[in-house]
């Protein structure tokens, strides 16, 4: 009988659902052409190496890390927003106490980064970096400003839709996820090769946050909800040779 304390036969994680994940090579996003492996990946059987991973605690998180509008002397320029949601696993269970890292452009679509030479103003009151831990129900919440769209020279007249980068760990290195959250109604999405790299259209749309009255603060900030699903543990452990 298998259980998770059996070091020789740990329970693995479900493979991501069909069509939800981009391929490494996606020529419309041209940078993938020389940065994608040409050989097939080697499938690993589950061992402790893959079902464990780093866990982080509140000792690493500072009080204002979740509020990107309060990290400098003054208020950042732009529209204040609340970005919140739940982190679940694919078995619909909350992923508690897991690290969520975000980064984003300012309201003008400019990153405070040496490689961003877009001719748009920087904002000394906004550096666009946040992090938090989910609570016991898997909930997280950030206060930030709505990021601007920006040109990126990938193809003629290429503009990135407004987005916030998300990085999550979950319980194991197998559940690690880096993604981007988009905004509802953005006309740039269908022209964006990162967004269109996701084969399944419904999966793409799940990267688009939803306007949320519940978390909107009157006279203060609009709320956007973005739920995230990490891989869930395989609940049929005897099917170890799928």
């Amino acid at each position: 009988m298998t259980n998770r304390s059996d070091a020789a036969r740990p329970i693995g994680y479900r493979i991501a659902d069909e069509g939800t994940q981009p391929e490494y090579l996606y020529p419309p996003y041209s940078s993938t052409v020389k940065r994608s492996p040409s050989q097939p990946l080697v499938r690993l059987p589950w061992s402790l190496s893959e079902v464990t991973g780093p866990l982080f605690g509140f000792d690493r998180i500072m009080a204002n890390d979740f509020d990107l509008t309060k990290q400098h002397a003054g208020d950042p320029i732009g529209e204040r927003i609340i970005v919140s949601g739940r982190v679940l696993d694919a078995n619909a269970r909350p992923v508690a106490n897991t690290l969520v890292e975000i980064w984003q452009a300012n309201a003008a679509g400019r990153y405070p980064h040496p490689r961003d030479d877009h001719d748009a103003p920087t904002d000394a009151n906004f550096t666009g970096c946040g992090r938090t831990l989910t609570d016991a129900d898997g909930r997280y919440r950030f206060v930030t400003i709505r990021p601007g769209e920006y040109p990126w020279r990938h193809h003629y007249n290429a503009w990135r839709p407004a987005h916030i980068h998300f990085s999550l760990f979950g319980p194991a290195i197998a559940t690690r996820l880096v993604t981007q959250m988009y905004f509802p109604g953005d006309p740039l999405l269908e022209y964006d090769p990162m967004y269109t790299s996701i084969p399944d259209e419904r999966a793409r749309k799940r990267l688009v946050s939803a306007f949320d009255w519940e978390t909107t603060i009157p006279e203060q900030a609009l709320g956007y909800r973005f739920d995230i699903v990490l891989r869930g543990r395989d609940e049929t452990p005897m099917e170890s040779d799928r």
Partner: protein, 190 residues
Amino acid sequence: MNDEHPYTTSSQTVGPYLHIGMTWLVTDDLVGPGVTGDPYVIEGRVLDADGAPVDDALVETWQANAFGRYDHPDDRRDLPLESGFKGFGRVPTDASGRFRLRTIKPGPVPGADGAMQAPHINVTVFMRGMLKQLRTRIYFPDERANASDPVLATVPAERRETLIAKPVGAGQLQWNVVLQGEGETVFFDY
């Protein structure tokens, strides 16, 4: 699969500005005070299909301690944990595509079906132009257990050496990530 469950969120690239969100957790020296084990400096480069350096990659590592114990609740074996060693590393590449990490050689950990795995470091790589992470491993040179490692055994023999770091001095190892083409690193799916 026909059961009802929430769908896994899609991966997207970290993009070129990953440093803004991820630098705070850079961990390039995993070896705290009083940690057991042989220290190694592992240095390498991330290279694209043309052999050009990738100057905007992020390399994350995860490993057991010198006793072969992962600092994680799922590893319930009766082996020591050390507070000075968490097992997580995170290093960005520099302008020449180079990364550098100081750690210790982990102990052996059990593999599938109980065959012991040779000491290895689990590696995850992110970069602009990569829509989802790549996963690989670093093995240690001159390690007899490599010959019986169940994972190395599943890798085509002619590609196995891409997973094994090269000694370049006392306590110094070199290990590159070649994304595509000649000498392409073996990447794993799990």
